[in-house]
Point group: C2
Chain length 194, copies 2
Amino acid sequence: MKVEEISKVKTGWKLPLLPLPVCILGAHVNGKPNFNTIIWFNMLHDNPPLIGVAMSKKHYTNPGLKENRAFSLNIPTTEMVKVTDYVGLHSGAKVDKSKEFEIFYGELKTAPMIKECSVNIECKLVNIKEFKNTDFFIGEIIEVYSDEKYIKNNRPDVKKFDSFICLQPNGPYWKIGDYLAEAYEVGTSYKPKK
Amino acid sequence: MKVEEISKVKTGWKLPLLPLPVCILGAHVNGKPNFNTIIWFNMLHDNPPLIGVAMSKKHYTNPGLKENRAFSLNIPTTEMVKVTDYVGLHSGAKVDKSKEFEIFYGELKTAPMIKECSVNIECKLVNIKEFKNTDFFIGEIIEVYSDEKYIKNNRPDVKKFDSFICLQPNGPYWKIGDYLAEAYEVGTSYKPKK
């Protein structure tokens, strides 16, 4: 790409265009498993492994998560796209979503995990940072579960990993595409301009 | 997928397998633009738009970001994969990375942005949360820049958006793939089990 061909403009976008991983958060609310779809989450720290989730205060899930201090993050496969979107469209205040998945538990008895998902991250809530419209939940990762078919020599078998992303702000959902390059390696053949 | 075919195992993974967007962070350090590649960032809040970035305290960038209270997040295209990896492999303490890109500035004079990137997010640092090994920088988005070719009717033209993701923990980089489904819509045709 020639730089002179680039014509930068102020977009005024409040939410920048970003490809974000899609995830189903699981928590107990009013004594029952509930699930909602999120894209605002990422790692915060390596050791101990901490992960942060920003969730609108309007969500039905937030009080349950605060009460039980536990949650799960479950990575859906592309064949789960309809149900993933469904649990994001409907509030647990109006719809019982506890029957849509096969649920299992790890050490934390109030972090319901979804069997059909390829990766399950079991988290203990360790802190909350409050913003005006969102709660930022900080969880310590207690365990990561996966299916044997996604594991090869004790490592994730990334070629079989069939998750999808959501383009913020309005979608659509996109599949993960083709292999591009090795991370922490392809840059070794880059020739600096200076 | 039949649920009985799923064989869940504890993986012991400290960092869960996650497809994360790749981004080049720009900041001034010791009076000069510096860039490093990150994958630990996401939105925290909508209005005002806040974005969080977790960065190892070992990074050369952190003191500069704290001093100047400004940074940028720049989304590289797939043809930038080599240079993106390169700026992640080398510390600004040892290598001058200021010449690798065409740089432009917006309102904040210490948030260098990369012309070649498809989306540029200009951020004012508003808060820092310290963890043991990482600084969690909270930035308010001042403006989002893009190229006219990625915009259609004042909206992002997502079909042309050519970013890539990194599979945590070790890569590789993957392209964004095919269209999967409309977000906030495909779930309306889901038939609940209950």
